[in-house]
């Protein structure tokens, strides 16, 4: 198993280098000249050229790419943001905890609430509990996040005046962003869990367990649940990986300074160091989350573990 993990870590580095290459190339071809943005409109042509020279923007593609890769991976210098004038890593690390916390809370709540709801719906299949829950889940999944956010703000901040609408001062500021982010998560998890449970419940080994005289409670928790949870882990992992950078909407609406807003702003101002380094960090986190998810998979499903061990050793176990 350790060999497998080491292999994955090695792949991670390759993924990062590949990501760096891709984002560099993409930003190279995107229209928008940093010189135009950074300098005032009255700057002369020579001044613009001088600015570009200083930033190395007038060199050829290969030279710029080489310089960038060298700087990032060998010197581990992730650059200074042209817009924020602070080292990119510093800015990211000051914002990361917030985004991280928001994502984590949202995902955990989404799982903790959504999974039991899904199981409950599946066990009461085709009865009113199931139908109600699935309708609500559909609504939850279809609602655009920003619309929900604004609706909640109008209700709780304007009409009821219970909660503050923006900022990051106190715990109260987190309530609405968390609720907004969790709704979609609960809905997705409930739907997935329901279908996963339904599939598992029909399995032969559940009949076997019942035929053995296992009480229904144990059938659900000991036999069905571990099997039904397997697909969900993947989904939750993917949700987490995506949400680190994907909370842009929430951050925008609630003035929640996180990684998403930072990246968005950097893209608008063509702040190349910030964009490249942010994307790298996001890629890193996503890859790590995926690795953790795969390891959890292996711990739960022995078939997967065997697969990993086999691939780590390079031959199949008889």
């Amino acid at each position: 198993m350790w060999k497998y993990i080491l292999k994955r870590v090695a792949w991670l580095l390759l993924v990062l280098v590949g990501t760096a290459f891709v984002i560099f190339t993409v930003m190279y071809f995107v229209p928008g000249d940093p010189a135009d943005i950074a300098l005032p409109a009255s700057a002369t042509f020579e001044e613009r050229q001088a600015f570009r020279n200083e930033l190395g923007l007038n060199d050829s593609y290969m030279v710029q790419l080489g310089r960038y890769l060298y700087k990032t991976f060998i010197k581990l210098d992730f650059g200074t943001s042209w817009t924020y004038n602070v080292p990119v890593m510093q800015e990211l690390f000051s914002r990361m905890p917030r985004t991280f916390m928001l994502s984590l809370i949202t995902i955990v709540l989404g799982a903790v609430i959504g999974i039991p709801l899904g199981i409950y719906a599946a066990l009461h299949q085709n009865r009113w509990q199931d139908h109600t829950m699935m309708v609500l889940a559909m609504v939850g999944v279809s609602m655009p996040e920003f619309w929900l956010a604004l609706m909640l703000v109008i209700l709780f901040c304007l009409r009821l005046q219970w909660l503050p609408a923006f900022g990051i001062g106190s715990v109260a500021n987190w309530v609405l962003p968390v609720i907004t982010g969790t709704v979609a998560g609960i809905a997705k998890n409930a739907r997935q869990m329901r279908s996963s449970t339904l599939e598992t419940v029909r399995s032969d080994y559940i009949s076997t367990a019942r035929a053995k005289g296992v009480p229904e409670r144990s059938v659900i928790y000991k036999h069905m649940l571990p099997n039904a949870l397997i697909p969900i882990i993947n989904i939750i992992g993917a949700q987490f990986g995506k949400s680190i950078g994907g909370t842009v909407v929430l951050e925008s609406v609630f003035t929640f300074p996180g990684v998403g807003l930072f990246l968005l702003n950097s893209i608008n101002t063509r702040d190349l160091p910030a964009i490249r380094s942010s994307v790298l960090i996001l890629a890193f986190f996503t890859a790590v989350v995926m690795l953790i998810v795969d390891i959890i998979y292996a711990c739960i499903d022995p078939r997967i573990k065997a697969q990993y061990v086999a691939s780590g050793k390079g031959r199949r176990k008889a």
Binding site: P31, A43, R48, T83, V86, V153, L158, S170, V253
Partner: protein
């Protein structure tokens, strides 16, 4: 499940009680402002509109009177020097005289050497363009700064940045600062920056120990009516509107006209929130692409198109109160060289004449080509509406058009390609005190490195007239008139309108809004109730 829900409700209630208590403790003179994200609090690139809040934290040598466009001394001593604070020793040497007894928030005395340090530091920090001619800044004595230039100041408004864009800080403050003055600030202004949360908010507190003890020398833009100002960086207008309605926001420095509907006459919150509207000091212009690749290089076609457009109608199409139409190519308020006569002299700027337009069209070489109108997405898509209306006018004339819209940065790049567009709707630069700043953007060939303007105008006579009017020595009402007339006769640019900049504020806390030059809000100096 039930337990979980009740626990959640308890948490919410507890949290709101905490917040409620907190709110009641706030001073009456606490102002909450919704503004834009300055990204950092450094005093280096001071022309960034998003940094306008920091205007209260740092001071420059002079500031501009927003009504007259004239320089008012702040840090300089207006009684010394030949020009009210400074002396032009010779073509390339300037002397500036500071007041005595200035010190910054940390108590460090501010002397001429600090001002010199500020100049040189700003150049180092990448603000070269404004100070491209500054070779050296030195301190002759404690209160005299000498600027040595590499070449004489030739053009109008070239000197302005040296006076109003230089936010002074001390060398000691810069060296003492843990972040090199990027995430913390130490200036001489009425307010101290006490907190900066990147991407979220900044907090300023009134500095009781302001260095200027002579009340008569403090102009109305450097007052401190509020004890504490918190600026939240909010981009979502709905949130701002809700903030204003619930009272958690007192002032919003920039709000679109649509969002103000609840606050205007007859609106639901008209009694609690008022709106102060000023036309922007940026003019939205319609520029033709005068390169050979475009049919607009034909002057007759240009004049035909311009006479066929009624900019009053365009303004109406944007909605009541969103913009004001311009009857001349220039900004009226706060500039020293606007000529009212331009509004009455008949030109396409103030005349809508379809028959005349058709005459010009017949004379032109237009063969039914489809013209591309390019614009950008700023101002919530207002420019797109303008493009649509203009497109209809041109249809009426018999000219076919299509519209392309990009975000501003991409539009700026697209402009480099003469095949990409035929007409562009764009907002010209902000005018601080002279309309030559705008004409510089429109007609100067220096910015492109070729002999043509940004819109490919290749006209030596234009160049001549522009250079004459732009040079300080020859800048007179007559030369400006000559330039203006030539531009209008050839249809090189059409000043369409100026967007209204709205500032919304709560009437129970704020009496009125104070502006500094360039129509930026100074919340600290705004009179409060």
């Amino acid at each position: 499940m039930k337990k979980f829900v009740s626990l959640l409700l308890i948490l919410i209630m507890a949290a709101t009680m905490v917040c409620g208590a907190y709110a009641e403790n706030g001073h009456q003179a606490l102002l909450n402002v919704a503004g834009s994200d300055p990204e950092d609090v450094s005093p280096f690139k001071t022309d960034k509109g998003t940094k306008s809040m920091l205007w209260s934290v740092y001071e420059s040598l002079y500031d501009l009177d927003p009504k007259t466009g004239e320089l008012c001394p702040v840090l300089v001593d207006g009684t010394r020097g030949e020009n009210g604070g400074y002396t032009i020793v010779d073509d390339t040497t300037y002397e500036i005289y500071l007041q005595e007894g200035i010190y910054d928030h940390a108590g460090n005395p501010v002397t001429a050497s600090d001002v010199a340090f500020t100049y040189m530091k700003n150049i180092e920090k990448g603000f070269k363009s404004y100070y491209s001619k500054l070779e050296e800044a030195t301190a002759l004595d404690d209160t005299t700064v000498q600027l040595k230039l590499s070449a004489p100041i030739e053009n109008v408004s070239e000197l302005l940045p040296y006076f109003i864009n230089i936010w002074v800080y001390t060398e000691k403050a810069f060296n003492d600062s843990p972040s090199g003055l990027t995430t913390d600030a130490c200036g001489t202004g009425r307010y101290k920056l006490t907190q900066f949360v990147s991407g979220a908010s900044l907090t300023m507190e009134a500095w009781d120990n302001y260095w200027q003890k002579d009340e008569s020398k403090i102009n109305e833009r450097h007052q401190a009516h509020a004890d504490k100002i918190v600026e939240y960086f909010m981009s979502e207008e709905t949130q701002i509107v809700i903030g204003l309605e619930t009272g958690s926001i007192d002032i919003c420095t920039k709000i679109s006209t649509e969002s103000c509907s609840d606050f205007l006459e007859g609106g639901m919150y008209a009694n609690q929130v008022a709106v102060s509207t000023l036309p922007d000091n940026k003019e939205v212009v319609l520029n033709p692409n005068c390169s050979p690749e475009s049919p607009m290089s034909d002057a007759n076609l240009r004049l035909a198109c311009f006479y066929a457009i009624d900019n009053n109608y365009v303004v109406r199409a944007l909605g009541d109160g969103t913009a004001v139409a311009c009857n001349a190519l220039g900004v009226k308020e706060g500039t020293v060289d606007y000529n009212e006569a331009w509004e009455t002299v008949p030109s396409y700027q103030n005349t809508y004449d379809l028959a005349l337009a058709k005459e010009y069209l017949v004379k032109s070489n237009y063969n039914g080509e489809t013209l591309t109108i390019m614009t950008n997405t700023d101002n919530n898509g207002a420019y797109k509406t303008v493009a649509l209306v203009i497109s209809s006018f041109l249809e009426q004339l018999g000219v076919k058009t299509e519209i392309t819209v990009y975000d501003r940065n991409t539009a700026d790049s697209k402009r480099r390609d003469p095949k990409a567009f035929d007409l562009e709707i764009v907002s010209a630069v902000s005018v601080a005190s002279s309309n030559m700043e705008m004409y510089n953007y429109l007609f100067n060939t220096q910015t492109t490195g070729t002999d043509k303007t940004l819109w490919y105008v290749d006209d030596s006579r234009l160049n001549e007239l522009f250079t004459t009017a732009y040079a300080v020595k020859t800048n007179t009402p007559e030369t400006m008139e000559a330039l203006y007339q030539y531009v209008i006769d050839n249809g090189y640019s059409f000043g369409l309108l100026r967007m209204n900049a709205n500032v919304a504020f709560r009437t129970d806390k704020v009496e009125d809004i104070m502006y500094q030059g360039q129509h930026l809000v100074v919340p600290g100096s705004s009179p409060l109730k």
